[in-house]
């Protein structure tokens, strides 16, 4: 039994499902860069949301203290995961909920599908959820003859448009209003043929379309943002009320949640419910948050299930440099500040998780040796903006560099000589491993000046780095490194101060 296996070293078991990209990032990015409509939409969206975010974050005098508490709490959770999972299960079950465990995407899909079939229905309503997207639940259910209706407006647009989400918070941001209207006209039964592209009218058409479904659905499927171990409580954060509809009206509720979503206690909500809405939509609070603890007699679903999903999370946890990626609360702040994401969009990342977090999370969940996912850690300029924005302080650049090193190591056995990329990445790993090394490297910067033309742009980099300059010019590095500049500035400061004395 379990006692025998506990603590016995085993190889990590990686995840499956919509985590693998099907073409290497550089190729996908190159194609997506040609999509000017998407670039314009994304630019507008990411800039608007990040401006709002900066404003509401600035209102809190204790933002940094909240981030510190959030990061430390998540590290605690990961270190104590077995005990917290047991505690959560005990409490959720004691209040009438039923827990199922799923090792991988396929097992989770089968559990959900069997639970739905038990209810004798072929239709379910769904709340937007990254976990169910990750396991490809909708596609699986369709094969089983079950229709899953996405009820979040953006997810509905994506689903009706037979498309893929491009952003985790605003998944249909690559579509403009006219495209949305055209999708509705083509795909929504009984829609008013005179529907205009006014967002309010489009939202109302979606309301009409989904209302009957909400009011008659027997089964709903959701994800969860948080699970509190000390009470067995689940929480879903949303805006439109579609979440409340799904979580409240049907008799049966099936929630799918990654095992990393736990928080130890109710008290921790006070940290995360301040961090999440402000980081994600740039609001002081999202319009609706629902919390439920198992079954409440006479209120809401009486048949309540939770599927606890591994699917590579334990493999990510085994990576002691990468495990903090599991701290992610899926706020999307990192993608909204990422210069690479802003230009390529979410589709280029191929997997369910785009942007900077996707570039580390997908390869951690699938293993760096997974065919194309090994290109994801290179999808970054290592500018560090994601780290600054992350409410739980995940050091994404550091993990990117670590994964690049892993990638290089994993391919070493297959080649006789290290490739140019190997050397560069080894170099990067060395440079980012300490400030002193980085300083040494920056001393080489004036050389870069020589490669730049009159307009201070580098048009072509030599060798393998040419891949980067194929799609863009890069500004020439400054003639002086930041570290040198800082030292000089502060020396003169020190001198001035002395003089004033």
């Amino acid at each position: 039994m379990s006692g025998v296996f506990m603590g016995m070293p085993s190889l990590p078991v990686f995840g499956d499902g919509n985590l693998h990209i099907d073409e290497p990032f550089p190729a996908a990015a190159h194609r997506e860069l040609g999509n000017t409509q998407m670039r314009a939409n994304l630019r507008h969206a990411t800039h608007t949301i990040r401006d709002k975010r900066i404003k509401v974050v600035g209102e809190l005098p204790d933002w940094e203290e909240l981030r510190d508490a959030g990061a430390a709490t998540k590290n605690q959770v990961m270190a104590n995961l077995p005990a917290l999972l047991e505690e959560f299960e005990k409490n959720f079950t004691a209040r009438g909920g039923i827990i199922h465990w799923a090792r991988d995407a396929d097992e989770a899909n089968r559990i959900v599908s069997d639970l739905i079939k038990e209810q004798d229905t072929t239709e379910v309503v769904k709340v937007k959820s990254m976990a169910t997207q990750e396991i490809g639940l909708n596609e699986y259910l369709e094969e089983q003859g079950i229709s899953a209706f996405e009820t979040d407006l953006a997810e509905l647009i994506v689903q009706l448009g037979h498309d893929k989400p491009s952003h985790i918070l605003v998944p249909a941001i690559h579509k403009n209003r006219t495209e949305v209207r055209d999708i509705f006209l083509a795909e929504m039964p009984n829609v008013d043929p005179n529907l205009t592209d006014e967002p309010r009218l489009l939202a109302m058409a979606a309301r009409e379309h989904l209302r009957r479904k909400f009011l008659s659905a027997k089964v709903a499927v959701s994800g969860a943002n948080f699970a509190l171990a000390d009470s067995g409580t689940l929480a879903v954060v949303e805006s439109e009320g579609n979440g409340r509809m799904c979580l409240t009206l049907p008799e049966t509720l099936i929630t799918v949640m990654g095992i990393e979503k736990l928080l130890p206690a109710k008290e921790d909500l006070e940290v995360f419910m301040q961090l999440l809405p402000r980081s994600s939509t740039g609001e002081r609070m999202n319009p609706y948050t629902s919390l439920w603890t198992g079954v409440t007699e006479g209120d809401g679903p009486q048949n309540v299930h939770l599927v606890m999903l591994d699917n590579g999370r334990t493999a990510a946890l085994a990576d002691k440099y990468g495990r903090t990626a599991l701290n992610c609360i899926r706020c999307s702040a990192c993608m909204n500040v990422c210069p690479v994401y802003e230009r390529t969009g979410g589709h280029a990342y191929g997997s369910t998780y785009p942007g900077p977090i996707g570039a580390i999370l997908s390869p951690l969940l699938t293993g760096i040796k997974s065919e194309e996912n090994s290109s994801l850690p290179y999808a970054s300029s290592l500018c560090g903006a994601c780290f600054d924005a992350c409410p739980v302080k995940i050091n994404i650049p550091e993990i990117l560099v670590h994964l690049r090193g892993e990638d290089v190591d994993s391919r070493r056995g297959e080649k006789k000589l290290p490739s140019q990329m190997d050397l560069m990445m080894k170099g990067a790993q060395w440079a980012f491993s300490s400030g002193k090394n980085l300083g040494l490297l920056e001393k080489g910067l004036p050389l870069g000046k020589l490669a730049a033309g009159q307009d201070k742009k580098i048009k072509r980099l030599p060798g393998i780095a040419a891949g980067w300059t194929q799609s863009r010019d890069i500004p020439a590095p400054p003639s002086q490194s930041f570290r040198d500049w800082w030292k000089k500035e502060h020396q003169s400061e020190a001198t001035t101060m002395k003089q004033e004395k």
Partner: protein
């Protein structure tokens, strides 16, 4: 080995290096000392920012204000535990428009769908974020009644307002079904243009009551 045992065993393997994380620093604000009038002002500001309609009244005016907010509703639902004196206004007394939702006599979903408005109280409100918490007790009712009708009139007694979320959580019974409301339902999914009201109530009227 069952899935649970296997996952727990994988976790134990993953944590072979026995990480010892730092203790959680809780240096953020946990208490505040805002005066009542400032608290009310802050809450009103936040709620109006979310496009909620807000009245601030004395307890004596409450019933009349409720009547005023409900005047256009052809029908409305109240949870069984709503205080009798809230419904004493002439326009509300023996009101044929009123439907009471009570344990053992609950309104069906189609009936709720055919009801214009709902009147509830609330458990606790957070001024800084403009959030009102309903906990499903007698004067707030089942989650469905404050969800299906299109217009929610919500009473917030001043004694239940706090400034900060850390001050509100100790006042919540976390095992009850909780709904935190910050404005009416809204979406920004089409070109980030905010549209109030998609699936939840499209109109939220808040009545903040002094002396209650």
């Amino acid at each position: 080995m069952g899935a649970k045992e296997e996952i727990l065993s994988r976790i134990s393997s993953a944590l072979r290096d026995a990480p010892v994380p730092a203790p959680v620093p809780r240096e953020y604000r946990k208490t505040s000392d805002m005066e009542e009038s400032a608290l009310i002002e802050l809450l009103v500001d936040r709620l109006e920012d979310y496009k909620a309609h807000v009245n601030v009244v004395d307890a004596a005016e409450l019933s009349a204000t409720i009547a005023e907010r409900l005047k256009d509703a052809t029908s409305y639902v109240v949870p069984h535990g709503i205080a009798g004196e809230w419904l004493t206004n002439a326009a509300l007394a023996n009101d044929a428009r009123r439907r009471v939702d009570a344990p053992g006599a609950v309104l069906g979903i189609p009936e709720l769908d055919g009801t214009d408005a709902v009147l509830t109280s609330s458990a606790v409100s957070i001024a800084e974020s403009g959030t009102i918490v309903l906990d499903g007790t007698g004067d707030q009712g089942r989650r469905a009644i404050s969800l299906v009708p299109d217009h929610h009139v919500c009473v917030v007694p001043v004694s239940t307002i706090v400034q900060l979320l850390p001050e509100a959580l100790p006042r919540m019974d976390i095992t009850r079904p909780l709904t935190w409301i910050s404005g009416p339902s809204a979406t920004s999914d089409i070109e980030l243009e905010r549209v109030e009201g998609v699936h939840g109530p499209r109109q939220l009227d808040v009545i903040i009551v002094k002396g209650l």
